[in-house]
Subunit: 176 residues, 2 copies
DNA sequence: ATAACTCAGACAATTATAGTCCGAGTTATG
DNA sequence: CATAACTCGGACTATAATTGTCTGAGTTAT
C-alpha cells in the first residue's frame, strides 16, 4: 500500500472538518508537514474519481464533492492507487514442461486454485475497507481532540489566507 | 504481493503430490519453466520457516516438513515476503503545523483512526488466507486433471533422474 | 493590468523487486 | 578411495515502481 494513500486520506479528513470553505493542496501540505508537489499529484486523481471538486483562483482549493458518509475508504484507495490487483497471476501452470509448449485446455480452464484463494482474500480486504466511510473515521478521531483544538486549526488557516494580499508575502514560514 | 509467492506455492503443491521422494529446486524450476536461480532463493526462506526440509547430495532436494493440511497459505506468504505490513503508517498526524514541532500527547496516543481501518482490513485478509491449507488447494486442483496426467508427471521426473549418471549428460533440454 | 495564487502534467532520485552469478558442501558412481 | 555431478546457500546486478521535485498554463482578487 503506497504512502500517497495515507496523505490523501488525512487530507480528506481535514476537508470533511471544514465544509463550505475550500482548502488548497499547498496549505494542506504545509499544514501537515508533507511535500507540496507530491500532494499536488495526488489530488487530481481524487478529482477524476469524483471524490473532491476543484475551484481555481487565488482563494480556490478543493472541496468534498459528496457527503463524508457517502465516501468509502475503498473508493479513495482505488482512486489513488489505480485499482491494481493484490496478486497478479502469471499463469505459470500453463508452462509445465510435460505439455511441451501447448498446454491442454483442462489445465488453463477457469481460475487457478491458488489464484482463487488470493482473490477471496482480496475480496475480504476490500469488503472491510468498503464498510468504512470518512464519516466513521472522523467520528472515531473527533472524540480525542479537546474542543479548543478545532478553533486553533481555523485560526491557523485564517492567518494563512490573511497573508494573501499584494503586500504581505506569504513566504515558506511553515517549512524549515 | 510478490511473484515469488506464486512460484513457491505452486512448488509446494508439487511437493505435496509426491510425498516421500525429494524434489530439487532445479527440477521444479525446469518443470514449471521458471528461473532456476530465483527459485533457489525462495526455498531457503521456506526451510527457515519450517515448511520444507532440505536433503543434500546428488539425489537430494526438498520435502514437505509437515502434513499439507497443517500448512496454511498465510504461513507460506509470511515466510517468503517477510511479514511486512500492508500499510506502514508514517505518523503524519504528529507533524501538524499547529503543534509547532512538539505534538501534544493526546494527538499521538493510541493508533490513528486511519491506521486502525487498515489494520482491520489486513486482519480480514490474513484470516482469509489462514483458513486455507495446502490440502484444500490440492483438493480443488486435483479434480481437474485426468488420471493419466499424474503418471506423465512421474515419468517426466523419472526420466530426469535417470540421466544423473557419469555418462549421460543432463544438458538443458528443458530450456530454450 | 497586475501579481500571486491555483491546478496540472512532465522530469529525476530513490527504493524494492526480479533475476543472475558463483562458491562450499554432500552423495552416488566407478 | 577419487571423481564428478549434483545439492544448497548467499552475494551481486538489472529492472520496475514509487517517492519526490520541477516548471508551465490558467484563474481570480487586488
Ligand atoms: S497459475 Fe498463477 S496462481 Fe496458479
Ligand atoms: S498518522 Fe498514519 S494513518 Fe494517520
Amino acid at each position: 500500500m503506497t504512502a500517497g494513500v495515507e496523505y490523501g486520506l488525512h487530507c480528506l479528513l481535514w476537508l470533511a472538518s471544514s465544509p463550505g470553505t475550500p482548502l488548497s493542496s499547498r496549505d494542506l501540505a504545509d499544514f501537515q508537514g508533507i511535500s507540496r508537489s507530491f500532494l499536488a499529484k495526488v489530488f487530481p486523481k481524487l478529482e477524476k474519481a469524483g471524490i473532491v471538486s476543484a475551484s481555481e483562483g487565488i482563494n480556490g482549493g478543493y472541496l468534498l464533492a459528496r457527503q463524508p458518509g457517502d465516501i468509502t475508504v475503498l473508493e479513495v484507495i482505488d482512486a489513488i492507487e489505480g485499482k491494481k490487483p493484490l496478486f497478479d497471476c502469471q499463469e505459470i501452470r500453463g508452462r509445465c514442461a510435460v505439455y511441451r509448449e501447448r498446454p491442454p485446455s483442462w489445465a488453463t480452464k477457469g481460475v487457478c486454485a491458488i489464484h482463487a484463494v488470493m482473490l477471496r482474500a482480496e475480496k475480504a480486504m476490500r469488503d472491510s475497507l468498503a464498510s468504512q466511510t470518512l464519516a466513521d473515521i472522523a467520528g472515531d478521531l473527533g472524540g480525542k481532540a479537546p474542543p479548543e483544538f478545532s478553533d486553533d486549526v481555523r485560526k491557523w488557516l485564517a492567518d494563512r489566507t490573511k497573508g494573501r494580499t499584494r503586500s504581505g508575502a506569504t513566504e515558506d514560514r511553515a517549512l524549515s
